[in-house]
């Protein structure tokens, strides 16, 4: 559709994005009274925008227009973004190296309708020379290759907040807004208030990051952190060592289920090691470093918090959430013996190598219960390859489980593990909403990969802790 003249689409990318100078950025980084979110938004704030407060600091509650470093859409939001862009008559995008389209949700295409939408995305990326990724979950791909501390990442997917695990400001928006970012490289954001969560103590064997975040969601409710930034802190190095990048990714990802806008881990030696081992790169454009903008940002000592929370990891038991709402959280004992038809290990919330490792550890030498089907889905091609290399895939197959390609399929009930009428599933995926994985009458319970694997063996919801005692 040619609605606007080509001059309007050609005029705006030219002058809109302006970076702040180094001294401005340094003074914001050093400011002692700002939270992580306040610092990052001020650093990314477009200084030429009409926002009234361009020369003053934007604080929690203010609206700022920010420059965006990476703008992602996937195969269930990208087609609508492309449609909106076409309806607006915009045929140029601001910076193709910052535009990422990922085909992950119904990959490979489950039917003709999906295939046509995938085709629309491929045609778009080829026309605009932006980044196309197929067959890895977007959030995992961003974590493995693109996200860097201090980046501003927007994605047309609610779990975009996963990249908070490396200290990026990463949050979800809708399709038409991502189209606007593709066109201009910027968007308005409200600066969120912040809740600081201090972690102390050590997990019992068989208890994991997923149990921690489910516990927190159960305490605060599905809107308990709505519009807020979560800043996670470790009370000492001992606590810190329990939180690998995979565990941090799980928490940042699942923070969406209590409405958080972003969920941020401090950049430390664990982050730096991860970034060293997984270089930031964007092969598609032969652009070997699309993220040469790393800025370590730490909240100031006198920053203002909306709330401060203390969580003792040692007090957390394996948690099971559901059905129908993520904040319906129980200890595993309360639901033990509930029979299940399916056990699913995977998704962007818990489909990383650490998750596949614990599943393999429990399934090794054991059989999936005869009345239960068990599906294991890695979060990315990288995780898939590593699972093969480490011999986990053989373990799954010998136990009677199915190992699929990396996709969001089962988590959203679109393919590779949908549920029938009145079926019950225990799942390490992100959500248990009505009809999420298939039939409206099916029930989904969420738990850590360890709890899911133990349940797969027993054919009912089971406490994973006993699988760790003998080893």
């Amino acid at each position: 559709m040619q609605i606007t003249s080509s001059s309007s689409s050609a005029s705006f990318p030219l002058k809109l994005q302006k970076k702040q100078d180094d001294s401005q950025i340094k003074s914001t980084i050093d400011n002692k009274s700002l939270t992580f979110a306040e610092k990052l938004i001020n650093i990314k704030k477009n200084v030429e925008s009409i926002n009234k407060n361009t020369n003053t600091l934007s604080m929690a509650g203010d609206i700022a227009i920010v420059n965006v470093d990476l703008a992602m859409a996937q195969d269930s939001t990208g087609p609508l973004a492309i449609r909106s862009l076409n309806e607006m008559g915009i045929d140029k995008i601001y910076d193709p190296s910052k535009v990422l389209l990922v085909i992950d949700h119904t990959f490979p295409a489950a039917d003709e309708k999906v295939a046509n939408l995938h085709k629309l995305m491929r045609d778009f990326t080829s026309k605009h020379n932006c980044i196309l990724v197929e067959g890895s979950i977007s959030h995992q791909h961003i974590m493995e290759y693109l996200a860097a501390p201090g980046m501003m990442i927007l994605g047309a997917d609610s779990h975009t907040c996963q990249a908070g695990c490396v200290g990026a400001f990463a949050t979800g928006i809708g399709s038409t807004e991502i189209a606007a970012v593709w066109a201009t490289g910027q968007l308005w954001l409200r600066v969120p208030e912040t809740i600081r969560i201090n972690l102390s103590g050590n997990f019992e064997e068989g208890v994991f990051a997923r149990d921690l975040i489910l516990h927190y969601i159960g305490e605060v409710g599905e809107d308990g952190a709505s519009y807020k930034s979560l800043e996670w802190k470790f009370s000492n190095d001992h606590v810190k060592k329990q939180f690998s990048m995979d565990s941090r990714a799980c928490i940042s990802n699942a923070s969406m289920e209590c409405g958080a806008k972003i969920s941020i881990f401090p950049v430390d030696e664990i982050t730096r090691k991860y970034l060293d081992e997984n270089p930031r790169t964007n092969d598609t454009n032969n652009n070997n470093n699309s993220t040469g903008m790393e800025i370590e940002i730490h909240a100031g000592d006198s920053a203002q918090y909306k709330d401060e929370v203390e969580i003792q990891c040692s007090r957390i038991e394996p948690q099971v959430s559901g059905p129908d709402n993520v904040d319906k959280v129980h200890s595993v004992d309360e639901l033990a013996n509930l029979e299940i038809d399916q056990a699913f290990i995977g998704s962007s919330t818990n489909g990383r190598i650490e998750d596949l490792e614990v599943a393999a550890r429990i399934l090794k030498g054991r059989k999936v219960h005869k009345n239960t089907r068990c599906i294991v889905t890695p979060a990315s091609v990288k995780v898939y390859e590593e699972a093969i290399r480490r011999g986990y895939v053989e373990v799954y197959l010998e136990s009677g489980a199915v190992f699929t390609n990396a996709t969001c399929g089962a988590c959203v009930g679109t393919h590779l593990g949908a549920l029938g009428e009145n079926e019950t599933c225990i799942s390490s995926s992100s959500r248990n909403f009505v009809g999420r994985m298939g039939a409206l009458s099916s029930k989904v319970y969420l738990a850590s990969p360890a709890t899911v694997a133990a349940s797969a063996i027993e054919g009912r919801i089971a406490d994973p802790r006993r699988y760790f005692q003998s080893s």
Binding site: T77, P79, H105, S158, S226, F433
Partner: protein, 179 residues
């Protein structure tokens, strides 16, 4: 088998019948993934509006009807298809005690009025006729004769809504409202 296509109501003062919902009506209830991910046509999306609550919801509502809900309406996924499905099914506005962040943004972006009114709880019955004044951002209950004022939003969001959403705004002005 031809489905009657309901036209989205124009923005101004809109009147309609209230449909009452509780807390935490998430986007999987509003439109399940497996339907929204297989079409790019808003009228097709409309056939699944509130499918998780009642697959026939789109047939039961009349053009201009409103949704009145509790806390955290539209939680969960970022799917813009959720407000799109409601709008093209004929829903003229959503009133809730509170909204989930992305749904709220998306509603303004696609031109579906979303009015946050914490005190609405218990003040509207199923089937009450309501009038929504988009200019004043208020709701009038014709049965109880009570008026409720919605939480204020930035001017550019109201302007976007007035034009029917971001796409319509851009088509008219050749720029985005926050620039």
């Amino acid at each position: 088998m031809s489905e009657e296509q309901k036209q989205p109501t124009s923005i101004g003062i809109t009147k309609g019948k209230a449909w009452i919902f509780g807390d935490n009506i998430n986007t999987d209830i509003i439109i399940p993934f497996r339907f929204k991910s297989r079409t790019n046509d808003p009228y097709e999306m409309a056939k699944y509006a509130m499918y998780g609550y009642d697959p026939d919801f789109h047939k039961k509502i009349s053009n201009g009807d409103l949704i009145v809900a509790g806390r955290n309406f539209g939680g969960g996924s970022s799917r813009e298809q959720a407000p799109v499905a409601l709008k093209y099914a004929g829903i003229s506005a959503v009133i809730a005690q509170s909204f989930a962040r992305i749904f709220y943004r998306n509603s303004f972006t696609i031109g579906l009025p979303a009015l946050e009114i914490p005190e609405i709880k218990g003040k509207v019955n199923q089937g009450d006729e309501l009038a929504v004044d988009i200019a004043k951002f208020s709701v009038y209950n014709l049965r109880s004769r009570e008026t409720f004022q919605a939480a204020a939003v930035p001017t550019f969001m109201r302007q976007m809504l007035k034009e029917g959403g971001l796409v319509e705004y851009y088509k008219k002005y050749g720029r985005f409202p926050w620039v």
